[in-house]
């Protein structure tokens, strides 16, 4: 980072993994007596959890180190994110899991579904039954019912409560947060971009479990700094650097090797179309509907995760992002053994190629370093074709 540019978040965690900052924030909340609920997924209704005075903590782990322990129980041929998360739990080394008073999961993919069965006895756990066909007439009503059931579970487990008014207030608060995050995303849409993926991650990782009120000062400062950068003609990378949009599975921790490779190969990441990036902030919940839980259900079912079928929204969202961020290439990052994203990648590639005429690359990888050179070769070849 250039000396003339101040980090968007300038604290003792700057430059390190974004999860450290998130942990510190959670530990502070714990100190104030707040209850913490571990979540695994972008479908967990943050608004409800916050409205009940509970802090959500993301339990998805991206470390290769705990996978060996996980593989003594789980098959090796399984998503590294699932193995890593499970490995942390059975070695009792996950600080987020350790902090959590309860765990919320969803029936997203098969791997997660069956892994949850192995941990339900360890802490109070609630698995939400997520609809697989969001366009079904009853899907919204069904998911709304599930959100209410989650509410009951949290009431029973924590003695916490939230009125519908409180949920409505949380909706507005999170909408505000998301709107500010989208303002941040305007900046990598510019050419040249004034911000790199690491700083985006600093914000996306922190914002996920935080309220709008908490994020407001942080985002306001970040936005001000971003404006300054732009106005001062700062470029994170030269304007003619090939612009890359990454899509697919959540990417963090040891999987960030792919992002580093992209930059080392001379590219710059301008859009992060995954739950670890932009996705949680792209949709708003309808306000003032009189039925805030139903409004939440409707909003959450719009998330274009590959566990949904037929997930047409993935392509429409992708088009929207491509038109806004104008990448020169699209890279679909699929975690090993993830059938949903892997199968869907075929139609994503077709769409990106045929409809947008952009070079496309699917990368199937894990958290180890064994395939770094192979990934590098592919990414270099892709950027050469830009």
């Amino acid at each position: 980072m250039s000396r003339t540019v101040e980090p968007l978040i300038n604290d003792e965690y700057t430059g390190g993994p974004p999860t450290k900052r998130v942990l510190a924030h959670l530990q502070e909340k714990r100190r104030t007596g707040m209850k913490i609920a571990g979540v695994y997924c972008g479908y967990a209704p943050t608004e409800l959890i916050l409205a009940m005075g509970i802090a959500p903590a993301t339990l998805c782990a991206f470390s290769n180190a705990t996978i060996e322990a996980a593989e003594t129980v789980l098959p090796a041929n399984l998503c590294p994110l699932i193995k890593s998360s499970y490995g942390f739990i059975i070695t009792d080394t996950c600080p987020f899991y350790g902090l959590s008073d309860a765990v919320i999961g969803e029936t997203t993919c098969d791997g997660k579904k069956k892994m949850f069965e192995l941990i339900t006895d360890l802490k109070p756990t609630w698995i939400m039954d997520l609809p697989q066909v969001p366009d079904q007439e009853e899907a919204v009503a069904n998911w709304a019912a599930m959100i209410r059931k989650l509410q009951r579970f949290l009431e029973t487990t924590f003695g916490a409560h939230a009125t519908d008014d409180a949920i409505e207030a949380a909706i507005r608060d999170i909408n505000r947060r998301n709107a500010m995050m989208r303002e941040v995303f305007e900046f990598p849409a510019g050419r040249p971009t004034v911000v790199g993926w690491q700083e985006i991650y600093d914000l996306t990782f922190l914002a996920q479990g935080s309220s709008g009120k908490e994020m407001e000062p942080i985002l306001a400062e970040a936005l001000w700094k971003l404006e300054q950068r732009r106005d001062n003609g700062y470029a994170y990378r030269p304007a003619d650097t090939p612009r890359v949009m990454v899509t697919g599975c959540p990417v963090g921790g040891d999987a960030e090797k792919v992002f580093r490779i992209i930059e080392e190969a001379g590219g710059v990441i301008v859009a992060l179309d995954a739950c670890s990036g932009f996705k949680p902030y792209m949709t708003d919940t309808a306000e003032g509907t009189g039925d805030p839980v139903r409004a939440l259900a409707e909003r959450y079912l719009k998330i274009p995760c590959s566990c949904m079928t037929p997930n047409a929204r993935r392509l429409t969202e992708m088009t929207r992002l491509i038109e806004k961020f104008r990448p020169d290439a699209v890279i679909d990052i699929v975690l090993q053994a993830c059938h949903s994203f892997n199968i869907e990648s075929h139609k994503v590639g077709e769409h990106v190629g045929r409809y947008h005429g952009l070079p496309f690359l699917k990368i199937v990888t894990d958290f180890s370093l064994s395939d770094v050179e192979q990934v590098r070769t592919r990414v270099e070849a892709l950027l050469e074709s830009c």
């Binding site: 060996e68 593989e71 003594t72 129980v73 180890s368 370093l369 064994s370 770094v372």
Partner: protein, 261 residues
């Protein structure tokens, strides 16, 4: 009664003859491209009353000799238990596969786990890497043990690991450091297999790769559990097959021709 056990592995053939429970003959040869011929040559002229075959090539031999066969898992279980009575957990790293076997209180085979789909982490892996680093199989562990630190090998696949080794040495990494890295890679794969079925307890370590002193040291270090290595780790399977032959022979009066499955 002389009972013979023949273990036809993918790399070596081992033949053991026991009499009254004691080994009176033990030999081995390279399997080469013709396991049947290698086996025939190995047992030619040796007197035995009953013979049992095990290993990768057991069914091939069965057609020729019409002898009973047992799986190499059972053979190893029998052999290990006879050699080391308290034995409950066996790790066998062979020429082309790795096995972990758990015995129950009565010494019978209870659980097992095998890796026989991938040569990485087996004797073959050691051979290829020794060659790539220009060591003989005898020099290889010595070099590894002399290293100050290990070069981490990231590739899972034998073929790619070979490329990785070459590029490491081309970049100036010390041969012995790379040698140690290779040995560590084998050990971590084998112990991962073992831990899936036996998270604790003393380990009986056998198979051809147990002849490698660096592997022996690293296994003990990695597992942090007692590790027992028999005097002839490579012959445990053949010995176990011979023990089974002894049992079969005792039941049928020792006539090879009347022995059925």
């Amino acid at each position: 009664m002389r009972a013979g056990g023949l273990d036809i592995g993918s790399r070596t053939v081992k033949f053991v003859v026991i009499e009254d429970g004691r080994t009176v003959l033990a030999r081995k040869a390279l399997t080469s491209h013709d396991p049947l011929e290698a086996a025939r040559t190995l047992i030619a002229g040796i007197q035995y009353d009953v013979i049992v075959a095990t290993g990768y090539g057991r069914h091939l031999l069965k057609e020729h000799l019409d002898c009973p066969v047992i799986s190499e898992i059972k053979a190893f279980a029998l052999g290990a238990k006879a050699i080391h009575a308290p034995c409950r957990v066996i790790l066998d790293i062979g020429g082309q596969d790795t096995k972990a076997i758990c015995l129950n209180e009565s010494g019978e085979m209870a659980k097992f786990e095998m890796n026989d789909k991938c040569a990485a982490g087996t004797g073959r892996f050691l051979e290829i890497m020794a060659n790539a680093l220009n060591y003989t199989l005898e020099e290889f562990p010595k070099a590894a043990l002399s290293a100050e630190h290990a070069e981490k090998i990231n590739s899972m696949c034998t073929v790619f690991a070979e490329s990785e080794v070459i590029s490491l040495t081309a970049r100036g990494a010390s041969r012995s450091d790379v040698a140690l890295g290779i040995h560590k890679a084998i050990v971590s794969r084998s112990t991962a297999l073992l831990k899936r079925i036996a998270p604790s307890g003393e380990v009986f370590f056998a198979g051809g790769v147990a002849l490698n002193e660096c592997i022996r040291a690293l296994i003990a270090e990695d597992l942090n559990r007692p590790v027992v290595v028999p005097p002839d780790p490579q012959g445990v399977g053949a010995f176990g097959a011979a023990l089974h032959a002894q049992k079969v022979g005792a039941a049928t009066g020792g006539n090879n021709e009347t022995v059925l499955r």
